[in-house]
Symmetry: C2
Subunit: 230 residues, 2 copies
């Protein structure tokens, strides 16, 4: 199975602009990408970064360790996500070897266990939905299926699968369902990140910690750390 | 196993006040409760509503069908959630019969399949986390364990389990991880609700529908429906 990891290489994570500087957003996005790639490699697959611009595996903040880097390749495609993914979906006889998985680069909570549940099914289309109707990860085993990432893509992908007669499996995973887009999502990294996760380490390094002083759980940032890293 | 469903019977779902009137919030909360109870009954368990005030199973908006109502009982406890739950946790020899599950009443996406994953484990403590460090559902099989629902309760519950030497299992479920608290959460009911779900039917009845006109998926409410139901 081919596993694609789409990555906005140039101006990632703009919706975090209220809490992270542009340089910090690049570093944090790369840390999440590194975590996602490592989790995929640990499932025994060799992921391809589908990048919007050229990207070195040794780039600052990405700096993949050798055991991960040897399993990872980069494919550059400047087109919108939907077009870039559709150009790489199965076009053959839908053998297992021809199946394609698409795993978003901001699934900072993805673990090998959660990914195994996605990657080992037999349905023609397997989808791990995200919040607000998004498609955080999917597997395509039917060459008639195409993606459309605009809007409530989970519902659109279910509809497209039905149209082409493809069987659908929905993967019920909190970890795969959590994409890190907004400042409030950083809570999830601080709560569920594993000690070996680069994204968790990065947030701690730049001064984020959990904050439940007002009775609800959010994040706060240490001003000193902010000054040092900006 | 005893299955408790805590329910704020009097002023439920206050964080939905910007989109639902007080009467509507009561009706919607009861519809979600009815869905959760039905899903639990479909797993073969007989849930107890742990209510903050007396509640009739035939109350308007709840109106449990006979096959569900016969399996459901009500226990009234006016104390805060943590105290009411702790009073009902295992106090015996932690046999299977003595285990206690606690499933929140606003898990509108809960399905029998997702609940089975929670209820059929063997760990001393099984937790389905929600967003922002919450504990949406848990199973307690160790009489030394106690709950504390304040703050980032998922982390607290993991810490309490470690302190008493209890084994922990985290249930990785998008459906159990989605509690319906805020207006933006209504999207999840509209996207993932099943056609037989009362909560989905209620939202449609009062005029809610998905709205992706601004490029992101939210909900909008038909003004005509709002006038009719307020």
């Amino acid at each position: 199975m081919r596993v694609l990891v789409p990555f906005a290489a140039e101006t990632p994570k703009t919706r975090l602009e209220s809490v992270l500087s542009p340089a910090e957003r690049v570093a944090f996005a790369r840390a999440m990408l590194a975590d996602v790639l490592r989790a995929i490699v640990e499932t025994g697959h060799e992921p391809t970064i589908l990048a919007t611009a050229p990207l070195e595996l040794a780039a600052p903040g990405l700096e993949l360790p050798d055991d991960v880097a040897t399993a990872v390749s980069v494919s550059v495609d400047e087109r919108p996500l939907t077009d870039a993914v559709n150009a790489r979906l199965p076009d053959g006889d839908a053998t297992t070897a021809d199946a394609v998985a698409v795993v978003m680069a901001d699934l900072a909570l993805a673990t090998p266990d959660a990914l195994e549940r996605l990657l080992t099914g037999t349905a023609d289309v397997a989808i791990a939905p995200g919040r607000a109707g998004g498609t955080n990860a999917l597997v395509v085993r039917d060459p008639a299926f195409t993606v459309d990432y605009h809007g409530a893509s989970y519902l659109d992908h279910c509809a497209i699968a039905r149209e082409v007669g493809a069987t659908i499996e929905t993967i019920d995973s909190f970890r795969l369902g959590t994409d890190i887009d907004e400042p409030e999502d950083l809570v999830e990294v601080l709560v569920h990140g594993r000690e070996t996760d680069r994204a968790l380490a990065y947030l701690r390094k730049v001064g984020f910690e959990l904050d439940d002083r007002d009775g609800r759980v959010g994040v706060r940032r240490d001003e000193q750390s902010m000054t040092e890293t900006r």
